[in-house]
């Protein structure tokens, strides 16, 4: 009985990939552990190893094929004693998944003698998770282009990952003092491939692999900034930056004040923040509210690629220390980025992603996608929601929030993070203190559940925000339910 070899999922967020190269050909014998193919994901090139022993009977997806969906059958393996020539390709329906580029011609051999209960090769099982729902929601684009973009500007489809890399590369080209340091940023090309290509262009003087020593290299970066350089310190995730938070807060944020304004610390701490997919409690925290509570820090958490680029460039240029919170689930998302020589966005300015008149939904980072999806659902229910992306968490653009509240009189905050002492709490307070007369209903918070993020897919889904939760809160503040 032939074994179907299926396109593997090589990362928690991988949906499809490129079958870069076959290292075996039809008729080759393979045994467990042999490398059969190279598969490129958006992050890396991975090797695809054999698990079972047998003979490669058929290769169904040619090398060089892009967009091969996870789970698509890419080859057939004949087991010992089986006639490789007699193996047939699986049905057309399965092959259709292999993407447009899949061009392996099915052989017109006689059907194989398939046993009734033939064991299938393990199918990558697509569990519906909370992260996947947020990831899908992150397909939503803004209705409003940023007002800073001149009309007629060419827009280029760019992933958030590329946008961040482009921002760093452009700033490194224009300022010799800018350098990148962190774990795996150089030779490995970035744990999440954000720094891809920087080592080649700028060399190991300016793109520096560090030991696994967050506290230490955050301090070294901060000291280098005090000494006149402009470091970009990458954390593999902000969860690991907890080891380094002393230098971010005590050394970087407070120095300018403590020195009476003479000693600056122009540094960017950046990396993914918040929940990814099924990585559980210690790798899933949103630190936005923590850093946003610290005077002396700038805190930025962009949603789409254009903001990622424009705001990272602004962060690198700033004379102040910046915490730049990215999101792993967003790295592979594609958005339009204006093609301009020097696209820099203002720090401290929120963006109206979708105008509306009935209710305001405030969010940031990956929550913006959730808010936009909710707005779409609400439109079907004749509720016209305005969606605001805060973009900068400190200093917070209160004016944009309050102006929107004055228009809609109802406000919901959607935040992928814990509820207690959150950005949502802060927005609610601002509305109370400065927008009380504009409120027709209490401000509601839609946040993750107040628990460490669980691993199990169903529990994770329950814990994270989604559009339906936002819709329910909006209906409540609109007194529909």
């Amino acid at each position: 009985m032939a074994i179907e070899l299926k396109m593997p999922a090589l990362s928690p967020t991988m949906e499809e990939g490129t079958l870069a190269k076959w290292l075996v050909k039809e008729g080759d014998e393979v045994k467990s552990g042999d490398i059969m193919a190279e598969i490129e994901t958006d992050k890396a090139t991975m090797e695809f190893e054999a698990v079972d022993e047998g003979t490669i009977a058929k290769i169904l997806v040619a090398e060089g094929t892009d967009n091969v969906k996870v789970g698509a059958v890419i080859a057939m393996l004949a087991e010992e004693g089986e006639d490789a020539d007699s193996i047939e390709a699986p049905s057309q329906a399965d092959k259709a998944e292999a993407g447009e580029g899949a061009n392996a011609a099915p052989k017109e051999d006689q059907p194989a003698d398939k046993a009734p209960n033939a064991p299938e090769s393990p199918t990558p099982h697509k569990v519906e998770t909370g992260a996947r729902k947020m990831f899908d929601a992150a397909e939503h684009d803004a209705e409003n282009a940023d007002p800073e973009i001149p009309e007629g500007t060419e827009m280029v489809k760019t992933t958030v990952r590329e946008a961040l890399r482009d921002a760093m590369a452009e700033e490194m080209r224009s300022d010799d003092r800018v350098f990148v340091m962190g774990e795996e940023v150089a030779e490995y090309q970035g744990a999440y491939k954000v720094t891809q290509g920087l080592l080649d262009e700028f060399g190991d003087k300016r793109v520096i692999d560090t030991p696994i020593t967050e506290y230490g290299f955050a301090g070294v970066g901060t000291g280098a900034a005090m000494g006149g350089l402009k470091p970009i310190v990458e954390f593999m995730t902000f969860n690991f930056a907890m080891q380094a938070i002393d230098h971010i807060v005590n050394s970087a944020a407070k120095t300018n004040y403590m020195s009476g304004g003479q000693m600056r610390c122009p540094i960017v701490f950046r990396g993914p923040n918040g929940a990814a997919s099924r990585v559980a409690a210690q790798h899933s925290q949103n630190y936005g509210p923590w850093y946003a509570s610290v005077p002396g820090l700038i805190v930025i958490a962009p949603y789409d690629a254009a903001d990622a680029k424009g705001l990272l460039k602004a962060a690198i240029r700033s004379e102040d220390p910046v915490v730049f919170l990215e999101n792993e689930l967003m790295y592979g998302r594609t958005f339009e980025v204006p093609k301009l020589d020097d696209f820099v966005l203002p720090i401290g300015k929120a963006r109206i992603m979708k105008p509306g008149k009935d209710v305001t939904i405030v969010s940031y980072s990956i929550g913006v996608g959730v808010a936009l999806e909710a707005a779409e659902k609400l439109a079907e229910q004749d509720i016209d929601a305005e969606v605001i992306d805060l973009r900068t968490l400190r200093p917070l653009d209160k004016a944009t929030v309050l102006k929107s509240l004055a228009k809609t009189n109802r406000l919901v905050v959607a935040e992928e993070g814990w509820p207690t002492c959150s950005i949502a709490s802060e927005i609610a307070t601002i509305c109370m203190e400065e927008g009380f007369d504009d409120l027709d209903a209490p401000v509601l918070r839609v946040t993750n559940e107040d628990v460490p993020l669980p691993y199990a897919a169903n529990l994770e889904k329950m814990a994270l925000i989604d559009a339906d939760k936002v819709v329910a809160a909006v209906r409540k503040v609109c007194y529909v339910d």
Partner: protein, 348 residues
């Protein structure tokens, strides 16, 4: 299984497989140099005594850590620096600042929390900086200055300015994890830095022996291949000699080096420390036998400087410090508006 060869009883210690710095020589100071060292140590002693006095009068608040007893370390080491080099230390920082050339009145006015203070009164004793004088703090978190100083060394190497970073820390900080993270990177990247451990024998109230499994702190870099030298930190010329050797090592591109300065503070950890963890006799005995200023004075007299000349120096120093104290006492406090300045550099 084959038997392991019997170990020779007379085995000699394994030979070093790497270069080591030479044993430092006591610095041969000219009469003028020695006089300058004496003046500098006296400046710190008188400054700190005055600070202690003002603290007692309620003019200085919060935490105030005095450097009395340790003067030979900073004077010996910093006298060997060039103006390209950077200095960073912890919260016992007044002395190091004065040696960087920061006027005593600017430091004293910071201690009294006045607008004329080096940090406009917003930093206080533990948080003072002067970019102009390449003094980078003044850090209140024990051990933070070690990675920060390593970062300054990184900046020196990156910009190729030929400068060296000098990072002071105490025997207490020597047990912080971040110190070893910094050691690792400093040696890995061959950064130009001298780590000066000011071992005054007490981390607040805990003696080195009670807190350190390896109490010979100069060896603390060994597992990172950073050589260390133990120095009599009560002798300004020994300190200077060791600094010469260390700076040569670093300037030759051989990477970081550690100087463990064995020293002693006469006063408590801070002004609010009753120092019950050691006897009065212990302190008095160090003062009597090893005081760095008295030591230098004896050598000055041996070198032919008259007692009268020394008295004149002492008198002038007292006057100088009294002026600084008067200034710090009478200078106005910061304007209320200063509360909100310097939080960020730019406006957003």
């Amino acid at each position: 299984m084959a038997k392991a060869p019997a170990r020779s009883r007379k085995s000699t210690p394994p030979k070093d497989n790497r270069e080591r710095p030479a044993e430092p020589q006591r610095y041969k100071a000219s009469k003028d140099e020695l006089l300058q060292f004496y003046k500098d140590m006296l400046l710190i002693r008188r400054f700190e005594e005055k600070a202690g006095q003002l603290y007692g009068l309620g003019l200085i608040g919060g935490f105030c850590h005095l450097y009395i007893g340790q003067e030979a370390v900073a004077v010996g080491v910093q006298s060997a620096l060039s103006d390209k080099d950077s200095v960073i230390t912890g919260y016992r920082d007044h002395g190091h600042m004065l040696l960087c050339g920061i006027p005593p009145k600017d430091v004293m006015a910071e201690l009294t929390g006045r607008q004329a203070g080096i940090s406009k009164g917003k930093g206080g004793s533990m948080h003072m900086f002067s970019v102009e004088h390449k003094f980078y703090g003044g850090h209140g978190i024990v051990g933070a200055q070690v990675p920060l100083g390593t970062g300054l060394a990184f900046a020196h190497k990156y910009s190729g300015d030929g400068g060296v970073s000098l990072a002071y820390f105490g025997d207490g900080a020597a047990n912080q994890g971040q110190v070893y993270e910094a050691f690792n990177m400093a040696e890995l990247w061959k950064l130009p830095i001298v780590f000066v451990i000011e071992n005054n024998q007490y981390a607040m109230g805990t003696s080195v022996n009670r807190s350190s499994a390896e109490d010979q702190l100069y060896k603390r870099g060994e597992s990172f291949r950073i050589p260390g030298i133990q120095v009599d930190g009560m002798d300004v010329l020994a300190a200077r000699g060791a600094a010469e050797e260390a700076l040569q090592w670093v300037r030759d591109g051989k990477g970081p080096i550690i100087l463990e300065m064995k020293t002693y503070r006469y006063r408590g950890h801070s002004m609010s420390d009753p120092a019950k963890y050691r006897s009065r006799d212990e302190v008095q005995s160090v003062r009597d036998k090893s005081d760095p200023i008295e030591h230098a004075k004896r050598e000055l007299i041996e070198a032919g400087v008259s007692e009268d000349d020394i008295k004149t120096v002492e008198k002038e120093m007292r006057k100088h410090i009294n002026e600084a104290a008067d200034f710090a006492e009478n200078a106005p406090e910061p304007e209320g508006g200063e509360l909100y300045t310097d939080v960020l550099v730019e406006s957003y």
